[in-house]
Subunit: 201 residues, 4 copies
DNA sequence: AACTAACCGAGACGGTACGTCTCGTCTTCGC
DNA sequence: GCGAAGACGAGACGTACCGTCTCGGTTAGTT
C-alpha cells in the first residue's frame, strides 16, 4: 500500500519553487505592452523591465515571444464572458455587443486584442490559441443566446448558426480594424435589428 | 538650343533626373515583401536589396516605411475593381465576393492586404489612405450594385446601405483574419442568400 | 595543548557537520577547471556543477573565487616548499629556482598564480592571504639558504636580505608575467651567478 | 606595368569613413572609467554609454577590452618615456625608477597596467602588443643609460644587459604586484646601489 | 523518541554584461 | 542624382554567471 502510494506521489520538488508572483507580473506586463505597442513592438527586454524580472526568468519558462503572448492571452481570455439574460434575444444580443464594443474601444484590453489579432497573422500557433480560447468563447455566448431564444420560441429553430454569428461579429471586427465608422450603441442597435430579421425569417 | 530649352523650363531641373525605373522597382519590391513578410517584417534594407537600389535612394524620396507603404498601396489599389453585371443583385454580389475571396486567399495581394491592415493599426495616415483608396472603392462597388438593383426593382429602395455593406464585407474580413472558417464559394453563396433576405425585407 | 584549546572552546557543534566529501570535491573540481580553463575561465557555477554540489555550499565556506583558488592550490600541491640542501648557496639557489620555474611554466599552477595576483589587487584580504601562504613561504626558503650559507661562511653576513630576495624572485615574476624571455635553466644559472656576486660583495 | 601601378595605388576608400570623433570619445571614455573603476570594473557597455557610441562601433575596431585599454593608455599618456640624463648611471637609474614608481603607485595607469597583465595570459596577441608598446620602451630606456655609461666609462662594457634589466624591473613588478614592501625612494636607492655593484663588477 | 540546528543538493530569483545582429541614418566614392 | 559600400547610434537578442534565496531532505546533538 505504501509502495502504491509512493508510486502515485509526484517526484519531490527540488530547488526553489517557481515564483507565482513573477509569473503573474510577466503575463500582466506582456498584456500591457501588447496593448501599448502591439505585437511587433513587444520585446522580451521591455517585458522584463516592466515586470521587474530578470530576462532569464522569462526565457526559462517561455521559449519565444509567441509562447509568451499565448499565455498572456490565455490569462486574458480566462476573463469570464458573461452572457446577458434579459429575457429576449434582441436584448441579449444588444447587451452582448454593447459590452464588447465598450471593452474593445474604451479599455486597454481592446488594444491588446487588436495586438493579438495582428500576432495571429505572424504565427499560426497564436492564431489557433486565439481562435480556441478567445473567439470560440464569444461565439459560444451567442450560441447560448440563440438556444434560449429557440426554447422560448422567440426565433426560428433551423438557423445556420455559424453564418449568423459571422454576421454579428464580422461587422464588429470590420469597423474596429478599418475604422470607417464607430462602434457605438447606434451601431449595436441597428446591427441587432437586421440580425433579428434573419432570426425570424 | 540647350540653353534655350533650359530657359524655358521653370524649375531649373539640375543634376541627374529621378530614375522612374528605380521608383517602380522600389514600389513593386515593397508590395512583394509586404505580401511575404507583412508590414513589421518589411525593412527598408530588404526593399533596397530586392529592388537593387541604394538605401539612400529610398530615403531620398520617402520619409518613412509608412510613406513607402502608402505609395505601394496606392499602386496596388489602382487596380481596377471591376463591378460585375450579371443582371441580378444576387448574381452580382456572388460574383463580387467570389472574386474578392479569390484575390485574398489565392494571390500574393491577399497577404499584402492583410499586411496593410496590420499597418493601419500602427499609423493613422496609412489607415486613412487604406480606407479612402482601398476600402471605399470596394464599398462603392456594392453601392453601385444596389443602385442598379433598385432601378430594376429587384430590391427595396430604403436601405441602410452602409450597414448592409458592413454585413457583407465584415464576415469576409472576420473569416480572413480569424481563420475559423474558409472563404469559399459556399460561404459566398450562403452569405449572399442571407443578405438578399435583408435587401428584400 | 591542542586538547586544552579544544576543551576551552567547547564548540556546541550543533546541526549537521560540514561534509568533508563536499569540501574535497569542490577543491578538486576547482583545481581541475583551473587546469582546463585558467583562472579567468573558472566560474563558481562550473565548480558547483563539476563537484556535484550546491552553489550555496561553496559560498558558505569561501567568500570569493580567489579564496577558493588559494585553498585549492594549497590542497593540490600539498605545497611543501622543500628547501634544497646541496652544500653550497649557489647550488641551493639554482635548485630552488629550477623547481619554481618548472611549477610555474609546466603546471596549471602557473596560470592560477597569475590569476590570483590580479585578484589580490582588488581585495586586500586576499592579498594578505596570498602573501602569507605563498610568497612568504618561498621567501623564507631563501632566507634559510642564506642562513646556512652564512654559517658555512660561504657568503657575507651583513646582507640586505629582503632586497636580495626581491632581486631573486622579482626577475622570475617579471619574465613569467611579461614573457619577454624564458624561465629556463640558463636563466636560473645566470641569475644565481649575478646574485652570488652580491652575496660575496 | 598596369598591374604594378595598381598594386601601388591605394584602394579607393568606399563607404562612410571612420569617425575620428567617435574614436577619440571611446578612448577618453575608456581612460575615464579606468581611472574611476579600474580594469576589472571596466565594461564595454559602460564605455559605449559614456562615449555616446554604439557598442558595435567599439567591437568593430577593438577585439577585446585589453585591446581597447592598450590604445587608451597609449593615447592618454602619449607615453613619452623620458630618459633622464643626470650625468651618471646611478643618477639616471634612480630618476628612471622613481618616475616609474610614481606612475605605477599614484596614477590610474598603475591599476590599468596590472589589469593588462591578466589579459596577456589569455591572448598572445595582446601579450605581444603589451611587450612591444610598454615593456620594450622602458627596457630601451635602460639600455640607452647603459650605453651612455659605457661611453663615459662609468661602467664596464661586457654586460649581460638583458639580465641586468630583468634585475632592475623585476623587483619593481614583484613589489607592485605582491605588495610585500613599498615602491618608495628608499627602495629605488638601495636597488640601484646593488645594481651598480654588478655594473662595475 | 522527538526536537532542533545547521548542513546538503538543487535550482529559481533579479541582475549585469556579454558579443552579435539588424535597423534606419549618414557619408563617401565613382559613374 | 544614382548605385554601392560601409561606418554610425541605437537597442534587442539569447546566454553565461553573479551572489542570493528557498525549497525538500539529511545528520548530528540536545531534550
Amino acid at each position: 500500500m505504501t509502495l502504491l502510494t509512493k508510486s502515485h506521489v509526484k517526484l519531490p520538488q527540488r530547488g526553489r519553487p517557481r515564483s507565482e508572483e513573477s509569473r503573474q507580473s510577466i503575463l500582466l506586463g506582456t498584456a500591457a505592452i501588447l496593448a501599448e505597442r502591439g505585437y511587433e513592438g513587444l520585446s522580451i527586454e521591455a517585458v522584463a523591465t516592466k515586470a521587474e524580472v530578470g530576462k532569464q526568468t522569462i526565457y526559462r519558462w517561455w521559449h519565444s515571444k509567441a509562447d509568451l503572448v499565448i499565455d498572456a492571452l490565455s490569462e486574458l481570455a480566462a476573463q469570464q464572458v458573461d452572457i446577458p439574460d434579459t429575457g429576449s434575444v434582441t436584448g441579449d444580443l444588444r447587451e452582448l455587443l454593447k459590452n464588447a464594443f465598450f471593452v474593445l474601444t474604451a479599455t486597454p484590453s481592446g488594444n491588446a486584442v487588436i495586438g493579438l489579432l495582428v500576432a495571429t497573422q505572424r504565427d499560426t500557433r497564436i492564431s489557433k490559441v486565439f481562435r480556441e480560447r478567445f473567439v470560440e468563447k464569444r461565439r459560444g455566448a451567442v450560441r447560448e443566446i440563440f438556444q434560449r431564444g429557440i426554447q422560448r420560441e422567440q426565433i426560428r429553430a433551423n438557423l445556420d448558426t455559424d453564418l449568423i454569428i459571422d454576421l454579428i461579429y464580422g461587422p464588429m471586427w470590420y469597423r474596429l480594424l478599418v475604422g470607417h465608422a464607430p462602434l457605438d450603441e447606434v451601431f449595436a442597435d441597428t446591427l441587432v435589428e437586421q440580425i433579428m430579421v434573419l432570426l425570424k425569417e
